[in-house]
């Protein structure tokens, strides 16, 4: 019984991030405008929302992100319209098949984070995590609370591997993870 409880705890999703999703999504879209390398081939930026369909918390975060995006009726990135697509993540998932230029990551089971980091790096996809702790574990970007104000967290190595090149004026505002 105890081991089942511990297993459940290990598989549980992390507690919700301090920065509300309402803040994270528009701020993330604005942060993308500071990526000098961001390419938008067909005039519309496609963002894949990566979630785990086996976890209700992950799926509800994905739904909420898509709903928030629909409410943001006029928002653009470098003048391009933004399109969100849901990308279920699992052992046989193919990130590249989603056709996304950037990935927005909903809460995932702990074991999935490193796997996602490897796959996104292999596919040259920039990742933004709604859970800031994932940035320390290999995803490229996230947001955390710092003295009551949101702050960006950037994993420079992961961002560079994805081909991102952020302006220094943006990086000066971030907590940098160097590993």
């Amino acid at each position: 019984m105890t081991s089942a409880y511990l297993l459940a705890m290990l598989l549980a999703l992390p507690p919700s991030a301090g920065v509300p999703l309402d803040v994270q999504l528009p701020a993330f879209l604005k942060a993308l405008s500071f990526d000098r390398s961001l390419a938008v081939p067909d005039g519309e930026l496609t963002i894949g929302v990566v979630f785990d369909p086996a976890h209700e918390g992950s799926e509800s975060a994905k739904d909420r992100l898509i709903e928030i995006h629909r409410e943001l009726t006029r928002i653009r990135v470098k003048g391009h319209a933004v399109h969100l697509v849901a990308v279920p993540f699992g052992p046989r998932a193919s990130l590249a098949a989603a056709g996304a230029e950037v990935l927005l990551v909903a809460p995932l089971p702990p074991s999935a984070v490193e796997s996602l980091a490897r796959q996104s790096e292999a596919s040259d996809l920039l990742t933004f995590s709604t859970e800031p702790s994932y940035v320390d574990r290999g995803l490229a970007m996230g947001m955390e609370m710092d003295s009551g104000r949101p702050r960006f967290v950037v994993n420079l190595a992961a961002a560079a591997s994805a081909g991102a090149s952020f302006e220094s004026s943006f990086l000066n505002l971030c907590r940098i993870v160097e590993k």
Binding site: P20, E67, A81, S169
Partner: protein, 385 residues
């Protein structure tokens, strides 16, 4: 002519100011932006503003939550440290076209507003008129304080209360409209010169969202009247509005108003009353950058004035030609009775609005109209800091 030259010079000045890298601080965006000594914020204006200052559904929800994001846990001290102050400056010139009643003037409007902690919110704005005669302070018509989500222990979002001087929860705000011409149906008043549905009201309002898709607001207020001859005793007015949201971005609603006053008009006490009932819709097609909205209202005005029945409505279509350029068209129909006769007045207003660096808007509208008013145009430049 000198006024229009001044407007042009001001517009050019603003363009120069805007040509740098820096962007201004709007009051709310700063709260949700990373600590920074630089001048940009990470909450884009376009997050909350569809066609500035018109709210997106996202911004509308933020406003209805007392200027809070869902899940916002910032304290009132943190909100105060974010310095929730903004200044809006508007320069406009009217009477472009056959209408010879031309004027150029400006408005400077400091605004302080915030959600302080989880419950308290406030809004206070103090406009100043600027014209050739100098600067003149307007009345403090929009200043209120509210307690939000006060029954969260029972159910979230079902009760917000606010009191002070505010605009009724109209389907489309008049005081903060993005359009240059007013929504005429609000100003059908039966000839009462000091009353309109869009005028500031003093009193209390309850509002909430008992259902995920449904919202209500009920206000008990008294109309603000200023002229000596129209000073009235306190007669409570009632306004109620109900809305239903669907497909995330769309909204339909209805509203009713019943207000009475007893006016002291030249020593004679005159009872008057205004009633309104109306319906509205607001459809946003975000991926197409388009919206379609409008309302129709029916009303009766009883008292000593020349008009007694007032109906009217409008329908407006908007389309973002590109992310910084909005085109609009509004058709308005008004019908007011005077004794046994009825006067109709129709108009078509075409508009274009452009944003520069998010904080600066240049807008032009031209109105073609049948009736007693001549065609006319308005040019406006807004700058928010």
């Amino acid at each position: 002519m000198r006024g229009r030259l001044a407007l042009g010079a001001a517009a050019a000045g603003l363009l120069l100011v805007a040509s740098g890298r820096a962007e201004a601080f709007p009051g709310f965006a700063r709260k949700y932006s990373p600590e920074s000594a630089s001048l940009f914020t990470f909450m884009p204006c376009a997050g909350c503003h569809d066609s500035f200052p018109k709210l997106t559904p996202f911004g509308r929800r933020f406003k209805e939550n007392g200027f809070r994001m869902d899940g916002d846990a910032t304290t009132w001290q943190e909100a105060v440290r974010a310095f929730p102050v903004a200044v809006k400056t508007t320069i406009f010139t009217t009477g472009i076209g056959p209408d010879s009643d031309a004027s150029t003037a400006g408005i400077i409007k400091p605004i302080a507003a915030a959600g302080l902690g989880r419950t308290i919110s406030f809004w206070i704005e103090q406009p100043f008129d600027v014209d050739g005669d100098g600067i003149e302070r307007r009345d403090l018509d929009y200043a209120w304080i509210g307690a939000y989500d006060v029954l969260r222990g029972v159910k979230e979002g079902i009760l917000n209360v606010r009191g002070g001087s505010f605009e009724l929860d109209l389907p489309f705000t008049q005081i903060r409209t993005h359009n240059l011409f007013a929504y005429d149906p609000y100003f059908l008043s039966g000839g009462d010169p000091e009353w309109s549905l869009a005028a500031p009201q003093r009193g209390f309002e309850m509002a909430g969202r008992p259902l995920p898709w449904g919202r209500y607001s009920i206000a008990v207020t008294d109309s603000v009247r200023r002229s000596e001859e129209y000073q009235s005793s306190f007669e409570p007015d009632l306004y109620a509005r109900f809305t239903a949201d669907f497909e995330v971005t769309h909204r339909v609603g209805m509203f009713v108003y019943d207000g009475s006053d007893e006016l002291d008009f030249g020593g004679v006490r005159v009872p008057v009353d205004h009633t309104r009932i109306g319906a509205d819709f607001d459809l946003r097609f975000g991926s197409a950058g388009a919206s379609l909205y409008g309302l129709y209202l029916w009303g009766n005005d009883r008292g000593f004035y020349e008009e007694e029945g007032s109906n009217g409505g409008f329908i407006q279509a908007e389309k973002l030609a590109t992310y910084w350029l909005l085109l609009s068209a509004r058709y308005t129909h008004l019908s007011a009775s005077e004794g046994a006769s009825r006067k109709a007045q129709n108009s078509l207003a075409l508009g274009v609005q452009a944003w520069l660096r998010e904080r600066i808007r240049i807008a032009f509208e031209y109105r073609f109209q049948k009736g007693t008013r001549p065609d006319t145009g308005v040019l406006s430049v807004d700058f928010v800091l």
